[in-house]
């Protein structure tokens, strides 16, 4: 790759940090869908409390990359270590990792047959074995944080898209995750609802949550990201702090991409 120098920079900075401060480590990760090579030599280290924004053209492998982190997709080569646990075929470890990694999807993926409150308490009760009362208390706390406690007894279908996405965030937070993954959380929303979801994410970032966010909301990236990653053809093409990334992109493809989305 032509831009290995820019890849190295942040890693040099973080390599002195102790092992336990690493939230996610990807080393030489490859993945194929049949013959199709989706992820090619992904190397990435995310420190605890860091906010990473991932962008890139459609089909570049952004979703695939973050879905590998909680094993919604399986990688075939390389190592992925999440919170000190390496992802293997060991189902126990996978469950352990999923408990600590929250994920927010483009299409919310709320459970339509359960109320908002039940959506939020199901996993704490049945995965974390929390007593129902405590789980409901925790759920109400997070629903209040995402500013929709009054909707707790409605069903997802009765809420607007923005509200549903905030419920999805609250649902993940109820598991008290160490890392939050976001896969284009605002791209299925009407424009006037994007802000309420981004505001929720900003406040989450301000509290020091480790976040990896696939998004094309460049305002969000500028505001909260510690690093911005640009992906293309299954590779990390460029990675930099947001200021430098936006004002001074190095790689041709990054320039082209930013030229297309920033006007």
């Amino acid at each position: 790759m032509a831009d290995t120098t820019s890849l190295e920079k942040p890693q040099v900075k973080t390599s002195q940090a102790s092992e336990t401060e690493i939230a996610v480590e990807m080393q030489g990760v490859h993945k194929w869908y049949g013959e199709f090579h989706v992820l090619r030599d992904i190397n990435l280290r995310v420190m605890r409390g860091e906010r990473i924004v991932v962008c890139g053209p459609s089909g570049s492998g952004k979703s695939t990359m973050i879905r590998c982190i909680n094993r919604l997709e399986e990688h075939q080569k390389g190592r992925i270590i999440v919170d000190g646990i390496e992802l293997t075929n060991d189902l126990k470890r996978i469950d352990e990792i999923r408990r600590d990694v929250g994920m927010v999807f483009q299409h919310f993926n709320l459970f339509p047959h359960l109320t908002i409150l039940e959506n939020c308490t199901l996993a704490p009760i049945w995965v974390k074995k929390m007593p129902k009362k405590d789980a409901e208390e925790v759920a109400m706390k997070y629903l209040t944080r995402v500013k929709i406690p009054e909707q707790a007894h409605k069903y997802p279908g009765q809420l607007s898209g923005g509200q549903q996405q905030r419920v999805a965030i609250a649902r993940s937070l109820c598991m008290n995750p160490k890392i939050m993954l976001f896969d284009e959380p605002t791209s299925a929303l009407d424009p006037e609802m994007v802000k309420e979801v981004l505001d929720t994410m900003v406040s989450l970032a301000e509290e020091g949550m480790t976040m990896m966010v696939v998004t094309h909301e460049m305002g969000f990236a500028r505001q909260v990201a510690d690093r911005v990653i640009f992906m293309d053809y299954g590779q990390i093409v460029e990675m930099n702090e947001p200021e430098a990334f936006f004002s001074n992109p190095q790689h041709e493809r990054t320039k082209l991409f930013l030229g297309q989305i920033l006007h």
Binding site: L72, N109, L122, Y155
Partner: protein, 383 residues
């Protein structure tokens, strides 16, 4: 013509207030004119159908009610030569033999046991079907565990607590029809779920076994399954072990119903979007918990009409057990109508008419229920 150039800009000056919708006229005459006589073809069709109904409905009503015989103790009450009038349905025969139609040859003094069984089953069914019923979780346990055990002890006997044994050869009539259907229904739902999940499993052996069971059972007629259960089942078992004559077709029916149910449920599973699985997995739910809490409740809800449809088919198919010598309702009607005491031409029709009405009411009830659930789901989808 006066051509007006399109207006280029517009700003609304005053608010348009909400108005009630325009009144549409109504009333029976108008309804008939709009729906029955709206055109020449429609009018002709209406008249022809009216004529057909006029010629068919009154005779049927007359046969079933008007000239029916309600009282009498033998065939002479229902014969034209003895009564001297035209005779319709011979309900006297049905009323006289109703206990036989309901219980078969179940010992007279023990018939309170089937009665309690009917009650226990009815409570379970209402509990399961009434969607807003309290404690439906307990209802499911009651229906799938308590009801089968209790029914077995009540009907077959439980000498330890003083319920003497009643051989299944004495059971008959509606009792047997209901037992066979209930076993088919109670077994087919859980096994259908397991087979459907197995067929979608990632484990090749599990998938293969499930596919074979489903396709084989679905691929042969129920009669074949019944004959095989009747004659081949004893061959598979160790020497000296005998399977009850009623249990054999029960196993056959259960297999058959499970295979059909599995395919219905698989259809529901396929309709659940991938995102539901991913949402559940990302929260750390294990496969069984994901299926139990997230996927199956949604999948089963979608296929309620299909499930009920399978139940209706199963309910009517149970008449086939009479072929392997089980006295279900049809078989009891068969044997009662040839009784010389009740020899009269109309007795034959009346027995079958009774059976038809029984089956129709049961199936219609199921169908009505499934439609009401569908309506309810359609309403809740809108929310």
């Amino acid at each position: 013509m006066n051509v007006v150039a399109p207006q280029r800009s517009f700003v609304r000056a005053e608010q348009v207030d909400a108005l009630p919708p325009p009144r549409t006229a109504s009333g029976p005459v108008l309804w008939m004119r709009e729906n029955l006589f709206s055109g020449p073809i429609n009018t002709v069709v209406t008249l022809v159908m009216a004529w057909v109904l006029f010629w068919t409905i009154p005779p049927i009503i007359d046969y079933l009610i008007g000239s029916a015989v309600w009282t009498g103790s033998d065939g002479s009450a229902c014969r034209e030569d003895t009564t001297g009038r035209e005779v319709g349905a011979c309900w006297a025969f049905v009323i006289d033999r109703i206990n036989y139609f309901v219980y078969g040859s179940y010992p007279m003094e023990l018939r309170w046991r089937p009665n309690i069984f009917f009650l226990v089953l009815a409570v379970g069914i209402v509990w399961m079907l009434w969607l807003d019923a309290p404690k439906r979780g307990i209802g499911a346990i009651y229906f799938f565990i308590v009801v089968p055990l209790l029914s077995y002890w009540l009907l077959a006997g439980f000498p330890m607590i003083g319920l003497e044994e009643v051989p299944t050869g004495l059971w008959g009539g509606i009792l047997v029809t209901i037992v066979v259907s209930a076993v088919g229904i109670v077994v087919s739902l859980p096994f259908g779920v397991l087979l459907a999940l197995g067929r979608r499993s990632h484990l090749p052996i599990v998938r293969l076994v499930c596919v074979i069971v489903i396709e084989f059972t679905r691929g042969v007629p129920l009669i074949t399954v019944l004959f095989m259960a009747n004659t081949m089942l004893p061959l598979f078992l160790a020497e000296g072990v005998t399977v009850d004559r009623l249990v054999r077709p029960l196993i056959g029916v259960a297999f058959f119903a499970s295979a059909y149910m599995a395919e219905v449920i698989r259809g529901g599973l396929q309709a659940i979007p991938k995102g539901q699985y991913e949402g559940a997995m990302s929260l750390g739910l294990s496969y069984p918990k994901m299926m139990y809490f997230i996927i199956l409740p949604q999948a089963l809800r979608i296929v309620i009409p299909g499930i009920v449809n399978t139940f209706i088919g199963l309910f009517k198919d149970t008449t086939l057990v009479s072929i392997v010598g089980i006295f279900d309702l049809i078989r009891t009607v068969e044997s009662a109508r040839v009784d010389p005491v009740w020899s009269a031409p109309s007795v034959n029709y009346s027995g079958y008419a009774f059976a038809a009405i029984f089956y129709f009411l049961c199936c219609w009830g199921m169908s009505w229920y499934s439609q009401s659930v569908e309506r309810r789901l359609a309403a809740s989808e809108k929310r």
